[in-house]
Symmetry: C2
Subunit: 330 residues, 2 copies
């Protein structure tokens, strides 16, 4: 039997090139090797979007379209909408007993995010507890492998701590520890060059962006502020256009030549940006075409079937969990 | 349509005379006036019994037997096992977004209980969040009235704060605020005279205790340590036997005479305790007889039917809640 692997996204906007390079490409490869589940994490998205839920609910279909357009195959990958699986909440409630406030306060990822969001005393309890909910996601679907960035490693540790505590406390081995699969690609920088490419910062190129928007965003990219005339020598490091060429140009020898040319001077930003634009248009045109041909009805049916399959697995896990604790059914 | 009223107990042991006088008697009266739900709160009991779940799971049947033996009528009262209703967990997860850590930290009831239990940093997150879970219980079953002791008033306030925030945030009025019904009877003291009658302190007379255990506990009761000889004047205040006579003797004029006699001297503790014992045996004999005739199969069927009826109501509420937030079904 293939090992189960679980990834997911918070549906708070359309997916972008950062997702493509950081995880989507990888998922397309992984789906033939593993029994892959992708969780559309609407419940988790609500923990910091509860005051504008439409941004979450409306993006479930969009994100699923993104999956299918890049090559996620619903026959190989089970796409699940988190809010449709009540067992996730039920399991979270059991797990909340096995985690202390102190442990949650010390979680480095949550600590950082709380700071970023400027919550003080007003930390929503749901947001604070989301690592426990993630442990429920992972273990409910019996995932052995979880692809993550290194900033998400504390989530895997928290999950495994819960697994160990559960198994020890209830003298069982029904829960399995999971393993992080670290993504090798470093994070894609945003077009502003300031921080990583992000839906919420508006500095990302969505994989569904129309051609003219792609071009416009490429031409907005931060390059080298001291590279005034084409003849000036320019910096490659910290230059967003080169970061994207590294990630998306299909001939890295060409990119090496461009870097050398840019460094010694004589290569203007407009020429360079046109090259990147061509690369991205080439990459994204077939994806966009596929995406435009996707019917919302078909998407809903795929989500329905994925959720149904996942619900079956969820019920199986919950039965084991409840039996281990000793919860009867009436 | 009758108003819905919700009460419940944590099934951590058999119910005792404190429950009888504090709430069970009242519920027997209320069931003909209101649409009464009683929640066997096993999930809540697990928040501080997760490390010995059998104490919870085994007492679900016992507590239900206690209900029926004192006159709770399953045709008038819906008895529900909390862990059988997954919507409670699901609703709790939505509500956790609407409550801040600060609010939970300031909850006086939880604050007091955390102190009592000696949790420091090691407060289980589930225990800390239980007021949110109670808000889910109350609103899921659309309860308008909730009988509580005054120590539980912060729970009602927390529930109504969530209701108001939900309705405001999602521009709806599907959730209704509830009203506390304060129990008039003061809390019954334990046989040790030290604190209130409590399962966990082992200072309570269970309503299912056999005759010899009742007698033994009555004769262990704390009286007046300075009342050495029968002829000595004795104190009535703080005397556990009188507290129980006040609560359970069926002729309060007799109790008044006994108090006067005890105060002036000449009434020995043995005589007094025999009078109380007779009272309690008279009260509890028919309850015990009814209880002994209850079949576990019948109890399970009653819980099954109650849970099924409650599940229907739970689904109805959850649909309204999800519609208000905008959560679709796939």
């Amino acid at each position: 039997m293939k090992k189960k692997i679980l990834t997911g996204d918070r549906p708070t906007g359309k997916l972008h090139l950062g997702h493509y390079i950081g995880s989507l490409q990888n998922r397309v490869k992984l789906q033939s090797v593993y029994d892959q589940y992708i969780l559309v994490a609407d419940l988790q998205a609500l923990t910091d979007h509860f005051d504008h839920p439409a941004q979450v609910t409306q993006n479930i279909i969009e994100v699923t379209k993104d999956y299918l357009s890049v090559g996620i195959d619903p026959n190989q990958t089970t796409i699940v909408v988190q809010s449709q699986i009540p067992e996730i909440a039920a399991l979270t409630i059991y797990y909340l007993n096995l985690v202390t406030l102190g442990q949650l306060h010390r979680n480095p990822t949550v600590k950082y995010e709380i700071q970023q969001k400027g919550y003080d005393e007003a930390i929503p309890a749901g947001f604070f507890c989301y690592p426990v909910s993630q442990a429920a996601d992972i273990t409910l679907f019996q995932a052995e492998l979880v692809p993550v960035g290194d900033d998400q490693l504390p989530m895997i540790e928290q999950t495994n701590a819960i697994v160990r505590r559960f198994n020890r406390l209830y003298h069982t081995n029904v829960l399995k520890e999971c393993q992080a699969v670290l993504s090798k690609t470093s994070r894609l920088v945003g077009i502003d060059g300031q921080s990583k490419s992000s839906k919420s910062l508006g500095n990302a190129i969505a994989i569904s962006d129309p051609p003219e928007v792609i071009k416009q965003k490429v031409f907005q990219m931060y390059t080298d502020p001291n590279h005034i005339k084409a003849s000036d020598p320019g910096r490659v490091e910290g230059n967003v256009v080169f970061a994207y060429l590294d990630a998306f140009h299909n001939d890295q020898e060409v990119v090496a030549d461009l870097k050398a040319h840019y460094r010694r001077g004589g290569l203007g930003d407009v020429v360079l940006k046109n090259i990147l634009n061509d690369s991205l248009q080439l990459l994204l045109a077939p994806i966009r075409e596929k995406r435009n041909n996707l019917d919302a009805k078909v998407i809903k049916e795929i989500l329905h079937q994925g959720t149904e399959k996942a619900a079956h697995l969820a019920k199986e896990t919950m039965k084991m969990v409840r039996d281990a604790i000793g919860i009867q059914s009436f």
